[in-house]
Each structure stands twice: as structure tokens, then as C-alpha cells.
Symmetry: C2
Subunit: 737 residues, 2 copies
Amino acid sequence: MSSLKGGFTLPGESGKEELTLELAGKWGADVIRDSDGTQLSPRLLDAGYDIYSTICVIRDHNTWAKAHPDCLQQTFLCTKERIAKKGTLAIRLMEDFFEKQFKINETPEALSYMQVYDRTSETLLSGDVWDYKDGRVLLHDPAPFHAYTVSFLCYRIWEEINMYNHETNHWTSEPLLPIDPRKEETRDFLLQWMENWCQTHPQTDVVRFTSLFYNFVWIWGSSEKNRNIFTDWGSYDFSVSDRALSDFEKERGYALTAEDFINRGNLQVTHMPPTQHKLDYMDFTQKFVASFGSKLVDIVHRAGKKAYVFYDDSWIGVEPYGPYFQSIGFDGIIKCVFSAFEARMCAGVPVETHELRLHPYLFPVGLGGAPTFMKGGNPTRDAKEYWRNVRRGILRQKIDRLGLGGYLHLVQDFPDFVDYMEKILDEFRKIRALHDEGTVWTYPITVGVLHSWGNFRPWTLSGHFHETYMHTLIHINEALAGLPVGVRFLSFEDIRGGVPADIDVMINAGRMGSAWSGGAAWQDAETVASVMKWTWEGGVFLGVEEPSAVEGYYDVFRMAKVLGVDEDLGARVCHGKPAAAETPEKGLIPEGTRLIARDNVYLTEEDARVLAAVDGRPAVVSHGFGKGKGIYLGGFQYSPTDARFLLNLLLWATGKGMDNKYLTDDPHMECAYYPASKMLVVINDSAERRETDIVTDDGTVHTVLDADETKFISLGNTSDSQEQIHGTSGIERQDKD
Amino acid sequence: MSSLKGGFTLPGESGKEELTLELAGKWGADVIRDSDGTQLSPRLLDAGYDIYSTICVIRDHNTWAKAHPDCLQQTFLCTKERIAKKGTLAIRLMEDFFEKQFKINETPEALSYMQVYDRTSETLLSGDVWDYKDGRVLLHDPAPFHAYTVSFLCYRIWEEINMYNHETNHWTSEPLLPIDPRKEETRDFLLQWMENWCQTHPQTDVVRFTSLFYNFVWIWGSSEKNRNIFTDWGSYDFSVSDRALSDFEKERGYALTAEDFINRGNLQVTHMPPTQHKLDYMDFTQKFVASFGSKLVDIVHRAGKKAYVFYDDSWIGVEPYGPYFQSIGFDGIIKCVFSAFEARMCAGVPVETHELRLHPYLFPVGLGGAPTFMKGGNPTRDAKEYWRNVRRGILRQKIDRLGLGGYLHLVQDFPDFVDYMEKILDEFRKIRALHDEGTVWTYPITVGVLHSWGNFRPWTLSGHFHETYMHTLIHINEALAGLPVGVRFLSFEDIRGGVPADIDVMINAGRMGSAWSGGAAWQDAETVASVMKWTWEGGVFLGVEEPSAVEGYYDVFRMAKVLGVDEDLGARVCHGKPAAAETPEKGLIPEGTRLIARDNVYLTEEDARVLAAVDGRPAVVSHGFGKGKGIYLGGFQYSPTDARFLLNLLLWATGKGMDNKYLTDDPHMECAYYPASKMLVVINDSAERRETDIVTDDGTVHTVLDADETKFISLGNTSDSQEQIHGTSGIERQDKD
């Protein structure tokens, strides 16, 4: 098996041709890629490898952009509140913002979208009580000690990824301007440019788009101490413009306003349930992105090349599970990954090729500025850690390719990294081969994760784990990504008329009011009754943190009668509550599980069973409801142990039992079974040597794994299997290669 | 001074006449009281002491009550939710409730108030889709898997204090029925009974009412494991009846419904802001209680006796700061106390005599069933602890009398308690004399505590400290009760048109949505602008926990621009936030102060100063706003040290400086200065020996106090004072008695 090659994309480095070709051989690469802004030398282009070329279509056209300043991308901004005292209030619009990023759009079309709000009374001011002049709004007769804001359209004069790299790495190159394909001139220019690009890159096999047109929102402020004002990897703010707004109005029959984006200064974060206006605008934008994106992809295809999307940065409107994604025509998706959930998100996208760009990036510094490929760095440790996370996901669903990014020469000082990468790639290819031979075994349990976005945003929330760790659901998704169960993502629309028949366990997890808990969706009586009915008839409703929570009803958790717990927002502080006396279930909660209890969450039903409590507050609660069950967790934080706890809960709540087959008896280890190959893959999720028994249909397997090890054990080719079936610590059966 | 006598009420015990009279002498009593249900013997009645007699007017009339079952007190109850499945849903109304406490009121008038709600859709069902029969509601065609409740009027067939004592102490006497003076027959009966009572109690000097007619709400459930369904010491549920509702409708011109009381199962807890319907009903009830209460007091007065109210149990509508209280005509108020805030609440009531009923109660067991006057108990320790709490309040405002309650013979086995009480009483009389000579010295700082109830509920929230400890404000009130500053309680009405000129610091403290934080009152733009203006012009707004918090605006804390912090309810999770870097202020935060930071509270202003942080979250923040300042505390828990922290904050924020006069330099000690007497009273709030320097206008005083000690130091009668003024550790000047 280790002789298998391919499935790996190497970042080539011109001037380091020997190293590039040596590592291509050692790591079994079949593709060499360039990076944004670099070019591969003829020797590399001609070395017999497939070639990926990276492009980011909306930047790197500064000459054209400067000649067409009205074609720059835009966004809405809203000043901070200004408190009026006596007399005229002058508000300088750019006071709060980074002047190298934004420039007020002073065209009449854009100014017509300007809004001045009294935020104390939360009322929009009529246009005749204020004037805009020279970057300021003058408010003539404000109410004393009321707070005012101005929302306005501005051009974005620095593409944000370029800006970030510039500012972080003290680059001196000219800032790149982002151009907006909403304008016909831009589209014409880009089509021509794309044609030309294809003609001038005959050796490129795959065009790697990063991603299409609109970056996730990233608003910088005027304060050097506090540059980041707003970032959200899923928000659409950077796709808006006066043209987009007028096109929207024509297409949808109603006008959006600045406040639809500004939303009382909150902006429209992905972690909160969308308004209908936002949903309409997203759909409008997705359609546009897909429509023009497909034209570029068509050019690529006509040039005999493939088009892959590197799903990062300018990914707004490119959501790969969205309704228009397939119409773009991408042949592959490349996803940079730190976590298992990202591997699963990539693996399920309806394209031919699924590639993961591994970490660490070949760069001197890594996440948060920590040293990687430099003195003080330990890239092998980092690689092990990321692989430990990602591997669980790859075991569950097929990934076609892996890749790296960055400067290849940096690995020269880290030979152990070079060796470790070879090991990872061998493991990956073995796992890929198993997927090719047949489907991985899972328990007959389908989990439906219920949230506002449903399958439009499966697995990921908005960005990577380290950007979304404060949301409970990402911890649950990360756990699920490596568990031997089926997983689906459900929107409230999906369950309103009845929960789909294949769902065994429904998970709803998050803060009250968030997109992950569901917010106002739980006001709908039909939704509530639908989940009640489904649970009563045998479903398991697993609620975490503030599930189904919404104000204004008898219960705060609308599933309180199912869960047996509710949250007191203050109105029930004088109500009696049953004591949370613990009645543990043997084997359910592995040692080391992080139990989390919330203040003000209390038992509502005397027959609710507290499986674990923290300081007298319920942390894990089970409550029978008809033939079904409610399970409540105060919180959940991902770790291998906590993932096992979640799996135990799923098995226990659905009556499957926790002493089950294809389970390691050490929660720091996991296994995946491939029936077609009769191959058991055991992984050690920890940095210590571990051992486990695993009950299989072919007997109990005992095995010992080194730290981080992946072991392939064949269950099919031993003649003495009869003997081992009954042994409680059967001898270890190694794979043969 | 120790020869002073009087100001003390002793509980007499018949059969223990010798002991009673001996202790009356030792403790300097001038009054002997009976207890509810006991009678003093002729020897005690004739011993030359004033006599208090305890009455609770609405119980102890079982013969009459049984003959007038329609005159029993009532309440609304609401069943728990019942989930409909298929076909008719039958709901047994009493299933959730203690059948010895309640009986469904089946009169047509009462049944007309019955309401059936669909709690899933939160809609009231029309009367033609359900029937009531034999204690059940039959709902003919419910929506499957919707939850339903029934709200109904019932008679209360066991007066709750009697019920509690019965059940707790296994009494065997006949349960007492509570009668309702809303009915004219009841009023006629009670007037006659009161006349008769006065005639048959010629030796009574003071009739001690407990309190008037309606007990605080205390709903018991059917489950023995979980009897307490709802208790709130301030709620009006037990004053309602079909008669009260029809009278209300006549008087106010609109009808109340069951849901006005049931409030989606929450009921109307004092800790939440009142609805206008609730305020109307409270006013209606207060007027009635005062009107009929004054008739009983008139009878007492005509009999030549005084009428004191023991402010406990049936105190609904008797709120001593309410608009009708003075019209009742009480001559005194007696308040049982555990805490300083209760002493302050009592001291400010507009009556002639203010008496505190001290703890421990002379009973074998005390709070929470802990032993007191029995084996294993330590009543002296308990008395010290309570006195340590209460003494701080008595130093700040005059209390006229102290008293005890319970069975006097129990003290016989605890001679140290007898001695300690003598000491307490001597201290008390000395303090009282100082108040008589002139006002206690305070800093020129007036604190306004802002909440929904304002001066209608000053100091107390709803019950004792140990019943309300989960509310931050009671901790603040307890701290303020002993601090040398002026304190007022403000409602939102009081500040809407402008904050009163004498307020230097405004405190708003509590959970979002609670009566203490203010809830929807903060939606009002005029209120917000009023507090903004006042702060800008020099006020200090001190916000604790979730001050001024309400949803639906640009800021969650409406005072965010003042405080420099806000709370993220989820919508701002992707907003950048200034780092909470600590810049401590020397001397501001005493060692041992309990710093509390809240999840999701973040800095909004870069110029906000983080005085203390916990795990990177802001705990104490100061922010300049015009000439004024915002101060934010994540929380506050009372202790002597934390009280000193609060005082330091008040001094520092108002620019008074923390190295100030009449301050102990040990935060476990406090002092009060009485300029008219030139007397400094120093107290040790701890159980250890402590020493302190105190800067006074007559020099620095150094003194050492034993655990719990109270020391009276005269600053006026030494001839060598000149020398001591300049000493940093001037010799100790003891009081002379």
C-alpha cells in the first residue's frame, strides 16, 4: 500500500527546483501548484506533473481599477454613536474607520442610501433635518443627550487579504484594489482577462480560484490598538453597492436600506438568525456570483483546463451546499483545514475532486503569530496535532487529495517534518483506498443537527474552529465529524411539517437567540408541536446550552416538557424547583468529560433524571417523553473524551447500548471499520501510548498504539480467527503491508 | 450610660414568671409581650411593664369561617402544561396542588374567571371548546402536541403560616382558615371581634398586628418531594378573589383576567418589573387594606391602646413606604431583622416607634432547621453574627426599640447568651442616645438607588437577605445600609424628567429584565437621555451586573456610552473589542474584595479604564463622561470588605479621595461619628481582634478592638488633644463610662 502515489499537491518554488522535485518524489506528489503572486519556473512546469495555478480574480488589476474608480467594491459602514449636547451635532463619517481601507462613496446614487438614526429612540431621521458635506453629517437640531449614527456606502480601496498581509508582514508593494463585477464594465474586463489568462498559461491544468468575487467582511477601525471592528467569515456586507441595491430592487420588487445591513450597529452576523431581507439579499447575491462565476469557469473549461475553487477569502455567495453552487461548474474544491468538521464539509460537496490544504502552512509563523518554520517552531508537532484532528473526519468520508501551501524551502531545516509528511500521506492514501473499496461502517443512527441555516451551512459555522470556538455547536460538529453515525443538517423549514423519518436524534445547541439555537424560529407553534410529536413517537431530542430557547412563552426552552429542564430568565426566581439529585448511568460519561452546568437552568419535571450535576446544577439530564427522550447538556467542549461521551449518549439514548462493537474501550482512541476490505483502522487521538480492546464481528481485537498512531488491522485474512473470537484479549492482528 | 434602661421588649412566658421578671430586669425591658397563640399570666400582666399583645386578624376564627365558606380567602392557580395527543384532553385542575391548601371555587362568579390557554401558540381558548366538570376541564378538540393550561380561582383552606408550622413541627391542632375582609360579612365580623378583643384585653397597651389581611403568596404542590411551587414575599396573589375582581372592575373601569396574575405560568414576581395592570391592582388592594385596616386601628385607639404593625407574613398592601400606609394610623412598626438593610428600612418608616425583633428567635431550631437553643446550638455565636450585621445599620439611623421573640425558658441553658444580650442592649441604648443628641456624620454624597419600585420598596427587595441573596442589589443595599453616605431609592418616574439635584451617585444593579435593573423602563428615550445628561454634567452612574439592559437598541446596556462597557447577547460575537488591560487605582480595591466579571461583557470605549479584570474580562471599569463618570461592576457580593470597596468607589468616583476622615484603615472595621456628642463609635465587623487608625477633625485616633467589639470613643473631653492631632498613631481615647 505504501507504494501508492499521487493524490498530493505540492507547492513548487522557483529557484528551488531540486528541492521541489525531490520532495515531489518523496511525498508522492502528482501536482505542483504555484501560490498567489508567484510563478513556477519552466523546469517545474515541464517536469511531468499536473499544474495548479492560483488566481484571485477581483484583485491585481490596479491599472484598470484606477481608471474605473466607480467599479471598486463597496460596503455599508455605520459610525459609532455620537451623543448630542446643545446645538448642531457634527459627525465625521470616517472618524472610526481605517482610511486606507474605505473612501466615502459620494455619488448621488450612494448618498441616497445614507441614513441618520436616533439610536436613543431608535428612529430614522428624515433627510430634511441633516446635511452631508465634506465627509460630515450636520444634524441641526438634535435632541440633547440622544445618540446618533450615520450609515453610508463607501468604496473599499484595499482588498482585505492583501491589506492584512501588507500590514502584518510590512509589505511595501502597492495595495491591491478590489473590483466589483456588479458593474458591466468590470464583467467585460474580467471575461477578457480570463480569456487572456488561459491563453498565456498553457501549462496550467487546474485553475485554482480563491474563491470568486466577494471577501468575507473585515472592517478595520481608525485605532491602531483596535484595528478589527468586525469580521465574519459568512457575512455578505462586502458584496453590497449602490448598483447591487438598485439591481436588487428591480429583481425583488422592494428596496433594501442601509439599516438592513447595519442592524442597530450589530451588522448581520452569521451566528444570528437571518432576517427575510437578508435571506433575499443572499439569494440575490448567490445567483449573481454563480451566474458570472460560471462564465469564467466556462472560459477555463473551453481552454481545456479544470476549475477548482479554493474555498477561502472571497467565498461569499460560493457556499458549496447552496442552491446555485453546482451551476458554477467547478470540478473540484480545495479547503484549508484545521479540524475534522472541515474535512467533512469538503468531502460532501457535489464536485468531482475534494482536496484538503493541510496545516501548518509553510510559513515562518503560524496561527496567532506563533513560530512554525523558524527558530522556536516545531512544525512536526503542529502537523501531528492538525492531522490528529483532521484524520477522524477523513476516516468517515472520502477525501481525494491533500496539499500543502507556502514556501517549500522552509522545510529544509526540518527533516523530521519531511518524514512525518511522508507518513501522513501514506496513511491518507491507505484510507482513501479503503473508501474506494466500500462504505465505512456506521451505527444505524442518523443525527439531525437543527439550526437556522440547515444544510446551507453544514458542519462549519462561519470560519475555522479557532474563530468559532465560543459557539457550542462547533464543538458538537467537530465531535460528530469523526463519529460512526450518520449526520444531517436540518433547517427549521425541514422539520416544520414533520421531522424527516430517518432522523433518530435531533441536536439543537447554542445560545438563546443565535442561529444555532434558532431564535424566533421557535416561536412557531407548528415547529414546536412537530418536534414534540416526533419525540413522543420515539425520537431523541438532544438540547445543549439554550436549546429551543425564546422569550414570550410559558417555557423559555420550548422543548422544556421534553427535556425536563428550563431556564429561568428572572421571572421564575421564586418558583420551587426539584432538586438536581444525581443518578449516574454506569459507563455513560467517560472520565475526563468536561461537564458544564448553566446558572439558572433548573429541573422542571420530577421524573427528569440528572445523570450529572455540577455544584447542584443539572449538567446532563435525561427525561422520558412518550416513546422518545429528551437529553439536556448544559454545554459541550470538544475533546476526544467528550466526543466519546457524545457517542455514548447517542448509543444509550437510542437504546443501542454502550458495550457495542467497533468501539475502542479507551475514549482517547477511535476506530473505523471498512466491511468491504474487512479492515479495521484504529487511531490514537492522544500524545501517549494507548491500548484497547475492540469487539468486532470477527472477535475481540486487542491492540496497542503509539502516540498519534494510525494502525490498519485486517480482520479477514487470518486462519485462526475462530480462536480469537472468544478471547477477551485476542492477539493483535496487524495489517500486512 | 449603661444604667440606661428601656427600649426593649421581652417575650413573657407564663409559668416562667420568675425567669421573665429576672430577665426583664437584667435586660432592662420596659415591655413584656405575648406571642401568637399564648397568653400572659396575671402576674406578668400586673408586673408594671407595658404589655404588647399579638394578633393576626384573619385567622383563628374557624367557627365563623366554617359558617361562611364563601368568605375564605382565595387565589388564582394555573395547572402545569398538559400535552394533547389525540382526541379529548382532560385536565384535572388540582393534580399539581396541595389539596389541604386549596379548593376549587365553583361559584358561577369564580368559574367565569377560568381560562384555558394553548401555551404552544400562546392563545386564549374560547369558552365553547372546553367544559368544566367535577374538577376537570375537558378540551374537546385540542391541537395535537400543543400544551394547555387551565387557570382558575380557588379558596385557600389553610392559612399558610399556620400550615407551614403545622407541617414542619407536626402540630395536631385544627388548621386555621383565612377569612377575607373583601366580603362585607367578614368586615362586620372583624370589626365586632376587634371591639370585643379590646374590651377583653384591658391590660394590653400595644396591639401588635401581624400584619393585616393578606399573606405573601406561598403555593404548595401535590408532590411531597417538592412542596414549594411559588413563594414571593411581595406578591399580591393571595389577595385576589372574585369579589376583589368585580370591585376592581367597578372602581377602575376595566376587568382583570386570570392571566394578569398567571402571566404565562411565571406569576407576577416582585423581582420583575410590574405591568400596569399589576400596579393598578396593587394600588386598589393597598387602598382597601389601608381603608379597612384603619377601621381596626381606630377601634384600638378608641380603646386607649396603641397599634403597632409587626411587618411580616400578612403584610401585602401594608408596604410602609406606600401611599396609604400612614392613613392606617399605626403608632409603630416592628421588623424582624437579620441584616442592616432591614434596620434601615424599619428606621425610615413614618411612625412614632421603630422596633427591631432580633434574631436568634428563642426556639430550638433556627434558619434552615439548624439547632439554636438546643444541644448543638450556639445562640451566642448566632446573636453575634446577626448583631454584627444589624449594628452597622443602627449606627446610621435611629431605631427606638429592640425585642426578642419565642420561648424565654430556652435561654436558661445558655447563660452566655443572656450576658451577651445584656451587652447588645447596652450598646444599643448608647447608640440610640447618640442619635437623640444629633445626626450622625456622613460624607456629602447622596446615593440614589434606581429600580422599578423606587421608594415604594426601599432597602428590601422581597423578604430577607437569605431569601434574596441571588439578587445583586440586596448585597449593595446591605453594604449601603452601614455606609456614611446618604441613600435614596428612586423609581424611573422619579428620574424621567431629570435626575433629582441632590443625587451624586446613581446605582442600577441587577439582571437584565428584572425590577432591579429596570427592564422595559430603559426603552424610554427620555429616561435614557435624562441619565446621560445628569452624568455628563457631573453625576456618577454606577452600574452593576446588567445595568440599564434591554434588547432592541444599538446598545444592550443603554448606558454603555457612559459605562464604557456593554453586553453581547450574541449579535456582536464577531465585533472587535478593546482588550481589558488592567490599570489599577492604588487603595481602591481592598484585599479580599470579591471581583466578579461576566461572560460577554466587553469594553466599548478605548478610554474606559479597567480597574480590575478577571480572566481577561472586565470586572471593575471606570469611564469618564463629560464632567461625570460611569463605573461598571460585573457583580457585587456583600461582606465588610466589599462594603468598604463600595465606599471607596463612591469616594473616589466623586473626587472625595480615599484617604479621608472618619474612615478606619482596616476594611473589617467601620466607624460612625456623632458630632453633637463628639463621639466616635468604632465597630469590628470581624471575628478577630483588629486595630485601626482613624483620622478625625480632632486628630488621628488609634484603637484596638476585640472580635465583634463596639467601642465608644469620645473626641471631645481630653485636654491634651492638641498633641494627639498630629500623631499618626495617637493614643487611644476610650469612652468614660
